[in-house]
């Protein structure tokens, strides 16, 4: 589009009808019509606001808090496990207690930490919906919620992993965890070689979101 808006009401500017096929017509807005559930959500929200159950600012703050969660929180847990074997043992026994021990705010999250080793590679999926440890990783990526990932991760996990560039040798067990009920899962990836002596903050950056879902390894050093 050019810098100046066109004035479509100037008579005589064009000699044809403006309604169709106008070469300078603005593109339609991407907004689609409201779905049934979007309309219902707006209606319920406006009723709750009108009745004073919560304020618009309360709602905004809650959304802001949800959006502020990020994989760095999970990375903090992973890095502590890498540097402190006793803490790792506690995290594998009770993931929720381990989070609270290092000051991570996880609310009612029931966390199970599963450890990748030389013998086992873990992969997380929720075939029924999109259960995900949001308190530690933030909102799930779109692919995690897709029907393709949810159905294929349980049936052909090695092919899915390969599409993420993650090749697991046949002598390593691939162990899928289907998050079907009340627990949530975080993969403890293997600590990359060459990171001896690194501090926790630096190590935490190597534990990416994808490595904590199990579709990738932790970022290698250097």
């Amino acid at each position: 589009m050019s810098g100046q808006p066109h004035d479509h009401h100037v008579q005589g500017h064009h000699d044809h009808d403006h309604d169709h096929d106008h070469p300078h017509a603005p593109p339609p807005d991407a907004d689609s019509d409201l779905t049934y559930h979007q309309a219902m959500e707006l209606a319920v929200t406006s009723l709750l606001l009108e009745k004073g159950v919560f304020s618009a600012d309360d709602m905004r703050r809650q959304i802001e808090a949800m959006d502020a969660r990020h994989p760095g929180l999970g990375g903090k847990l992973v890095a502590r496990c890498w540097v402190d074997p006793a803490f790792k043992a506690r995290a594998l026994a009770d993931g929720s207690a381990a989070c609270r021990e290092i000051g991570l705010e996880i609310g009612p999250l029931k966390l199970i930490v599963v450890e990748n080793t030389a013998e086992v590679h873990n992969l997380i999926v929720c075939t029924l919906c999109s259960c995900y440890p949001r308190m530690l990783l933030g909102l799930p990526p779109d692919w995690y919620k897709s029907r393709a990932y949810r159905s294929r991760a349980v049936h052909e996990p090695r092919a899915v992993l390969a599409e993420f560039g993650t090749h697991i040798p046949d002598d390593v067990e691939v162990r899928v965890h289907d998050s079907t009920a009340d627990m949530r899962y975080l993969v403890l990836p293997r600590r990359p070689a060459g990171t001896e002596g690194w501090d926790e903050a630096r190590l935490a950056d190597l534990a990416t979101r994808d490595s904590m879902v199990g579709v990738a390894f932790a970022t290698s050093a250097g």
């Binding site: 199970i112 075939t127 046949d170 067990e173 691939v174 162990r175 079907t180 009340d182 627990m183």
Partner: protein
């Protein structure tokens, strides 16, 4: 998410026990995946007891709470056409009322 409930059904299984998932197809809000029904695996751990989501979904209390287990299956037990090595496994959370003792 519901927390562990105090009014709970006693746990019938312990880690290492062999269990079979009931091959039932009731209607409603269910958390037992179709692909696991009828399959036999081993209890990996007891996760605690939780209000039954099949009841919670219809605004009922879901009590007494159902023990919840993680059950480990061999992939080959679930998928006749599984292409990976025989050592590959999958762990699924399953509530006690979906499990039967297996020989």
């Amino acid at each position: 998410m519901s927390g562990p409930a105090t009014d709970a059904i006693p746990a019938r299984f312990k880690p290492g026990d062999r269990v079979t998932v009931r091959e039932a197809y009731p209607l409603g809000h269910l958390r037992t995946p179709f692909y696991a029904r009828g399959a036999t695996g081993v209890v990996e751990r007891l996760c605690g007891a939780f209000a039954n989501p099949e009841e919670l979904a219809f605004n009922r209390p879901g009590l007494p709470a159902q023990p919840l287990y993680r059950v480990r299956f061999r992939q080959a037990e679930l998928w006749a056409d599984y292409r990976g090595p025989a050592r590959d496994t999958i762990e699924i959370e399953i509530y006690q009322h979906w499990l039967e003792a297996a020989p």
